[in-house]
Symmetry: C4
Subunit: 318 residues, 4 copies
């Protein structure tokens, strides 16, 4: 199935369904419009003479992937879309050589997902009840995931349209993040960084990577697109840790822009849901493979043999 | 009732009603389009690590408020919307810990509004018949309001669509403003400042605060959005007096932008009417509380514990 | 009749009429879109404290006018709109204290128009047959007009949509313009200047004024809006001669922008036709008076007592 | 037939036809939107006083043309539009004094096209099977074309919407381009340059001209409009070789922009198809002649007597 078909069928699935409301953006929906506006601002400086064929494979924090295109952390609507939805997503991502990233709630069958062989990351929220939060972390670690994610940007909970979601959260301090890091053997990744200040705090706390993200438009309205703050973040970090990004990425061309800004990995949220809704595990695989194929053609044509070789200067903006 | 519902119901109420025409913007309606365009230009630099919970309470010119979100000066269409409309607005604003600001005509029951316990401000227009203007001021003062407002921007009257309104006004001089100030025991606030020149004249005349405002799009077409001139005004005033702002603010995210530009209070005009039309005094309270709740979440997430702690640098513009 | 009504009725008149095609813009119609886009780019810095009441009256090249709002040169569709259309336009403009400016063809009853008492300007085209052109000039002068206009921008003829109009024209040289000037006792005005080079040539040829204009979108596609080149033109002329402007001006707010850029007069083309179509000579008068009334309110509120006192800094652009 | 008619009829021909899908743009279709957006960014600084009549004739790489407007390389959909479609295009272009440029597949009757007397250029793709590529080159040369074109930008094949086209291609090296040049007696032109790096490589390889092009939106999504990179390319080449351009050019005004940026020739792709579909060879001739006529009027009015005399400063951008 081709990408346009996946998006068309996937979106049609959610239309006029109660479950479709879970994909709505916070408050006015500005984030969705702005995501596309910012991504559309950039075009590519082609450099195809003397180019070699690009390879999209990459190794990040000890994990080998066939593509820098991964899943953004998410759990909730997946089981409702298809029987064994999470397992299907795992299978699709594995087939595509990608990574699975779960969100809230932490899947009951997290160990089974890990057992499929797909690399798995799992997030926790900064619950006010820190005891409960630490228990969740311990449970995630015991399930054998590759990375642990911390949603620093869920500090006042999440929100869909006008509806605040019932998570009792509160902001994390640098000291708390450092403590979690010191008690975690696997890589710790903070998700939801949108400023140099928070990025530096993460680096100082010793986290292994950050995700520059506006949380899929499910926390605060009028958050910038991650690419609006990537330059300041990449610059201030001076290469101390890898940076991932997500937010409205839909095609290989979008992913190339994320890489050009310095992202090591680019996450997909709703597209994974569309893939699953359109064709189960095959739809998920087709989605990631289709985007990766587009990315591969583009990488070759801008003279970037590897994901980390896409230069900032590849982007034309005006 | 949630904000989207309030706006939907409130706007529906005015549709195809004669009274709805009172909400039309002057001449071509450019002001409304531009208000949204300018507000949509800004997104937020999130700083949520180490953040403390924000408190929206504020004290301005001796008045304690639970929120920096107040009513913009207005009288006219309110009594026509609901029985005892002004009293309902007063009750709603009081419940939300906000401030009521009346306009033209000066309410006959201004003393009753004051008696509800909500802080009340009341405006006068710069009537050509200065004797009448001074009589109006005296009457307002005798009713026990908290602040007196002077509509310097109604100097050639008001206008809705192509229709000029029948007020006989003419521009105020600095000397006149100074005289009014010297004869007024309570704070005097000039409304409708849109340039550094007028802002400095207000400061020199000794007024206690100004409202940067385009008068709800009811005076002149092609006035800028207040945020287009806030920087020059805040800068030239050097903190000599507090600055309020209104013009197209609809959600907590809009209010945060006003605060980031240096406003001490942010006024709502049409939204108050929508709240009243949607659900009476409860609708007014729900509106202000809903916006304040959004603001509170945002303040926490940008690291601003109090309304006056929102930094200009919180805004990303491009 | 109010402005919105005049525009609504006037446009309705031309809809689906053969004559309506004469109002179409050249080729793709880009000029119309761009005219509005540029005019919409500017808002006003209000300065209303200490403001005196503005007077729109002005005296330009020996002609006294009640308003800087005049007619743009035009003849063709007017007689087809109403019986005695040109005389009605003359009467309407006279009532409004404005100026009439005829175009192609030179009206047979030009002397009658002059006899109404309205100040009249009349244009000639740069006909290849210069003998014929000089004959036309002589005839215009003998009819007693106030000013003679020269359409330098009709040098390759005019064009409506895809249709070139049958005028045999060719570019004028500076020497020719100078010669015409030397043989003309009344003020000579070159219309259709859009660059500093042409402006300086006009000044060097001794012409008395220029009109910065894109010819109502009836010559070349993708001409800029006059305000896009006004700054360079005003600056290079160093005040040697007055500059007029036209192009998409519709309301008093548009006119104020022309004045702020340094125009002494602002021309209206299609709006005059709409006024005539909507209500004959009364419609023409109501149009100019309505726009002038809007202008007057604005001038007062930006602190400009006279048309030539509107400052460039009144405009906010971003 | 006028240009608007040609475009209207031509587009109608392809609507809802299977063949119409061949005109679709790659992936999201962003290229088409961006092409128009960039072309619409520029307007013209008119300089018509002292102007002489412009002549659009030009001589490029030994070929005399009546117009700088030529056909962009293309073969595929032409034979399906009309009987003897390629011969009709040749006849139409010859009548207009233009140049024919064939693409993929290389026409079986290339020699017949040459025999019509129209100057013909023909492209080869960078086939992985270089032996086959060299055979194709030899065959083209033996057919007597004026220029040989090399599609450097088809290095990962072409793509329409989501469908990759079955050409087995791979990037060319500078050494290969140099080798081809050394074995070709006629001018060699590289098509599909979009960066200074590739432009300089072409110059260093000794090619005779380049075409700055996004391949009609049939290779990669989010390629810039050629005018977004023309300045950097023209500047870096320092006049070492002529530069052609194509990409969304539709009218004489678009062509003038190409010339102002320094292009020696401007190519038309889809418009040729529309001309053929609208009226066979006469439609092709009418299209090129109509655009050339528009160009001629514009050149006169901006003071450019020849195509290579259009100055960069003619363009106003903001």
């Amino acid at each position: 199935m081709q990408l346009t078909d996946i998006y068309t069928r996937g979106k049609a699935y959610f239309e006029n369904k109660e479950i479709g409301k879970l994909l709505d953006y916070v408050e006015t929906g500005f984030v969705a419009t702005n995501d596309r506006r910012i991504l559309d601002r950039f075009t590519f400086r082609q450099r195809c003479i003397d180019a070699g064929k690009a390879d999209t494979a990459t190794r990040v924090l000890g994990v080998d992937l066939a593509t820098p295109v991964i899943m953004s952390s998410m759990t909730m609507p997946i089981p409702a879309i298809a029987d064994g939805g999470l397992m299907q997503v795992a299978a699709g991502l594995k087939a595509a050589g990608s990574l699975m990233w779960t969100g809230t709630p932490i899947p009951a069958n997290l160990d089974e997902l890990v057992a499929t062989g797909v690399p798995v990351a799992a997030n926790v929220k900064p619950l006010k009840d820190r005891t409960k939060m630490y228990a969740e972390i311990e449970r995630i670690l015991s399930d054998g995931v590759a990375w642990l994610g911390l949603e620093v940007d869920a500090a006042v909970g999440t929100k869909i349209a006008d509806r605040e979601m019932g998570f009792e959260c509160e902001p994390l301090s640098v000291a708390e993040i450092e403590q979690i890091k010191n008690n975690t053997a696997i890589p710790l990744i903070c998700k939801g960084v949108l400023s140099r200040e928070d990025a530096l705090k993460c680096a100082d706390a010793g986290v292994d990577a950050i995700v520059v993200s506006s949380h899929g438009g499910h926390t605060l309205d009028y958050l910038p697109h991650p690419l609006q703050v990537m330059d300041e973040i990449i610059h201030c970090l001076e290469g101390r840790l890898p940076v991932f990004v997500d937010g409205g990425f839909r095609r290989g061309s979008d992913v190339l822009k994320g890489l050009a800004f310095g992202a090591a990995l680019v996450g997909l949220g709703r597209p994974i849901l569309y893939g699953l809704a359109a064709d189960g595990k095959d739809g998920v695989a087709a989605l990631v493979e289709g985007i990766t194929r587009e990315l591969s053609r583009l990488m070759t044509m801008v003279g970037a043999p590897r994901p980390d070789a896409v230069m900032r200067g590849t982007l034309i903006s005006d």
